[in-house]
């Protein structure tokens, strides 16, 4: 703010001049000729003299672009509805809307081109930091102005100009030009940081545009396919987690008004593209995603858990006498890109856990375990902040998820250190299994549901975690001292099986083993016949097994 006298007017005059040059026939390829001429103009007006001045110039340009867009969109709305409330577009209004979009773009795109050219031509080719500093400056301005716009205009906020600036700037800076190669990764990082700042939880009115950018073919290609050594994967997983965190409270209540259904369905489409093109990405980042997705959001979670490496051939789960423990991949430890133990809170719990796993002390550990996992503070993790202790809020899901996986990983390492593989006998009678059995017995229905979900979230493609946790779930079923536990294990599996496809391989083989292996006496339980449609469902699954 507090621009020098006359800067705003000067900016507008200069920007208009640039826009004219940009659209003229003599602009030259990539506006190169126009740019050479215009830089002189900027120098004459002293715009490039100081860092502060060019920042102010850019800020005024962004505001100018925004105002132009708003004006032209408001014109359309006036024409369409005589000033009434906007209605979802019909054909004629869509034409009007696209015409004024073109007008908007004819102002915004030249500005973006100017920014991109200034970035490309700033600093020496060998010193990319000047370029990236300039990019971060502009992106920071767009964020600042947009957030100010949101706070000022609330429901009247209009995402179009910001969407256009960010999208076109990303496309400009990802063109296959040698001058950009040295900053490709830094550009991805800058945009990731910007989109994280503008994440839906902070800028809900920008969510649709945000997801358009994050799932744009060029953005996905750069992030997941082209960036070397998969350096974009961690960045992209952070953005996806931002989206899940925003959706979580609404999905958690399964009350999906149209705007949310739209966003949710859009998210499913993006995940399907990732499942099809980058399954390894979903495999390696599944843990963080499942921490953010609410436990009742079954199909979306199944979609993520169904991913398996493209070079892997999954044996048909219904193969008679399938010997899971003979599969070559079953002993391989899956990659998980986060430090699980850091999610086990409070620290005291983690220390006592390690101590208990090592030498089964403190002996009170098992009796205190549930208390540690109960929510005494507003829940972290799935972004739902209700007051602790409310229904569905008694436990810290993130800590419970981490504890289960952490203990499982320790158990697998322990078993493998003895040259064994997980089986009903090798997983039994261990500190690890004591903890799991204690959780199964000691928890109330809600807590046990979260606990069993934490296990079921590891039932994926053939790997050592799938194997161990499949055995664990079956072991807990077999050793349960109350039918309620067995029923709840069945429910957790069943609710993941009855939803539409896809279904994780590990889930299928666990359930098939449960209903096929007579040692679990599955069919003898009353709950199998609790309702005709449930009984029919079990029988239909059983038939497909036989």
């Amino acid at each position: 703010f507090h621009d020098p006298q006359g800067l705003q007017e000067k900016t507008e005059i200069l920007l208009r001049e640039w826009i004219t040059l940009y659209h003229s026939n003599t602009a030259g390829p990539g506006s190169a000729t126009a740019f050479t001429h215009f830089v002189k103009q900027m120098n004459v007006h002293g715009i490039l003299k100081t860092d502060e001045l060019i920042t102010r110039f850019f800020r005024n340009c962004v505001s100018y672009c925004r105002d132009i867009c708003l004006r032209s969109m408001n014109e359309v709305q006036q024409n369409q509805t005589g000033g009434g409330t906007p209605t979802p577009t019909t054909t004629s209004s869509a034409v009007a809307s696209s015409q004024c979009r073109n007008k908007c773009f004819q102002h915004v795109d030249p500005f973006v081109r100017l920014v991109a050219l200034l970035i490309k031509h700033s600093g020496e080719a060998t010193n990319p930091s000047t370029k990236i500093n300039l990019l971060n400056k502009v992106l920071g301005l767009v964020c600042g102005i947009m957030m100010h716009d949101i706070e000022t205009n609330n429901l009247e906020f209009y995402q179009l100009p910001y969407h256009r600036i960010l999208m076109m700037l990303f496309l400009e800076l990802n063109a296959p030009e040698p001058v950009l190669e040295s900053i490709n990764l830094a550009v991805l990082m800058a945009f990731t940081q910007t989109l994280h700042l503008l994440r839906p939880s902070k800028c809900a009115g920008f969510s649709y545009a945000w997801l358009e950018i994050v799932s744009h073919r060029v953005f996905v290609g750069r992030m997941l396919a082209i960036a070397p050594q998969q350096k974009g994967w961690a960045m992209y997983s952070m953005l996806l987690t931002d989206l899940f965190r925003f959706l979580a409270p609404y999905l958690r209540n399964a009350e999906l008004a149209k705007p949310l259904t739209k966003l949710y369905k859009g998210t499913l489409r993006v995940l399907l593209v990732l499942l099809h093109d980058f399954p390894e990405f979903l495999c390696e980042y599944h843990y963080g995603f499942c921490d953010a997705i609410p436990p009742n959001c079954i199909q979306m979670r199944n979609l993520i858990l169904s991913a398996f490496p493209r070079n892997m051939r999954l044996p048909d789960p219904f193969t008679p006498n399938l010997k899971v423990d003979m599969l070559p991949e079953i002993a391989i430890t899956p990659k998980i890109h986060c430090s699980i133990s850091s999610f086990i809170t409070p620290v005291e719990l983690r220390n006592n856990l390690d101590s208990y796993l090592k030498n089964r002390t403190p002996v009170t550990f098992l009796t205190e375990l549930r208390g540690y996992l109960q929510n005494v503070t507003p829940s972290s993790g799935i972004g739902v902040s209700g007051s602790p202790g409310e229904d569905g809020m008694h436990y810290n899901m993130q800590s419970l998820n981490a504890l289960v996986v952490y203990v499982g990983m320790q158990a697998i390492a322990h078993i493998q250190s003895k040259g064994q593989t997980p089986s009903m006998s090798t997983i039994a009678h261990s500190a690890h299994m004591d903890i799991f059995q204690n959780l199964a017995v000691d928890m109330d229905t809600e807590g046990r549901y979260l606990f069993l979900n934490a296990i079921a979230n590891q039932l994926r493609y053939p790997n050592s975690h799938t194997h161990y946790f499949s055995c664990t779930l079956l072991y807990l079923f077999a050793e349960a001292n109350a039918e309620a536990i067995q029923e709840q294990i069945t429910r957790v599996l069943l609710e993941r099986l009855i939803v539409n496809r896809p279904h994780p391989w590990g889930l299928l083989i666990t359930f098939i083993e449960l209903i096929k292996n007579p040692s679990y006496k599955f069919w003898s339980h009353e709950f199998v016949k609790c309702a005709p449609e449930i009984e029919k469902l079990f029988e239909s699954v059983a038939r497909s097994c036989m």
Partner: protein, 148 residues
């Protein structure tokens, strides 16, 4: 057994903002460079029109079965896109060549004979470059010319 969780005031407010933007959904064209002639699905076409491109419509084989005129139209009207790239490949498969200096496509005759240092005997698509450049409608010509 989790039951529902009360939404916080912040969630309520964010939802209202999401809802407001729902009535201003982005257009697919918002993500694309401005294309004067064929922006990406700017309008809803009547349902009885084909709503989805035919299968494999983004392959050279598909383009190769298009008429020469159609391929020229695509080449000159959809420049800078994958369609232009595919049209160029299909034209080459139909034994056309691109004269890079005059942006004209031409077909060599059986015994190519150089006429000047820039042109050789063949069938040229005369493309009214000047009128095209100004996107003029009137006297816009697009014709085969035999250069003997």
């Amino acid at each position: 057994p989790l039951g529902s969780t009360p939404l916080s005031a912040d969630h309520e407010q964010q939802f209202k903002r999401l809802q407001a933007s729902y009535f201003r959904m982005p257009h697919s064209a918002d993500n694309e460079r401005l294309k004067i002639h064929f922006p990406r699905q700017p309008v809803v076409t009547p349902q009885h029109f084909p709503q989805v491109p035919p299968p494999l419509s983004d392959t050279v084989d598909f383009f190769q079965r298009l008429s020469t005129e159609t391929l020229f139209f695509i080449f000159y009207y959809l420049e800078g896109t994958k369609a232009q790239y595919l049209a160029a490949k299909a034209l080459k498969k139909q034994s056309w060549r691109f004269h890079t200096k005059y942006m004209m496509w031409f077909q060599r005759h059986e015994e190519p004979k150089a006429i000047t240092d820039e042109f050789e005997q063949g069938t040229y698509i005369f493309f009214d470059y000047d009128n095209w450049g100004q996107r003029k409608k009137e006297n816009f010509t697009f014709e085969y010319r035999y250069l003997e």
